[in-house]
Symmetry: C2
Amino acid sequence: MCEANAYLLKGDKEEKVFENVDRLQLHEGGLLLEDIFGRRLIINARIKELALVDHKIILEEIDSE
Amino acid sequence: MCEANAYLLKGDKEEKVFENVDRLQLHEGGLLLEDIFGRRLIINARIKELALVDHKIILEEIDSE
């Protein structure tokens, strides 16, 4: 399976926020992530980087300005 | 391997623009894609959707306004 884990950048650290992500869509200015079991996470962030062979999705928070 | 293919939305059609994508990064308002062989594509687009189990990255063009 080619799911990935989602990490949110906090300063220079990566904090894992969701595992086994299959689908990701834009959602009301942020993102909707869905894992391989159909569980969902809505997060006020955008994609900064993908590293698919490493199974990583790196997210960064959106400033609510 | 868990690379994916990148498709650019053209109306309601998906046109494959790059295969075997491993890494993707934000780059000067658009995206820098790198495949598993180290080849790179810079594209004026953003991620609309991921479907990792289906090995798909769906991109949409950025209006140059």
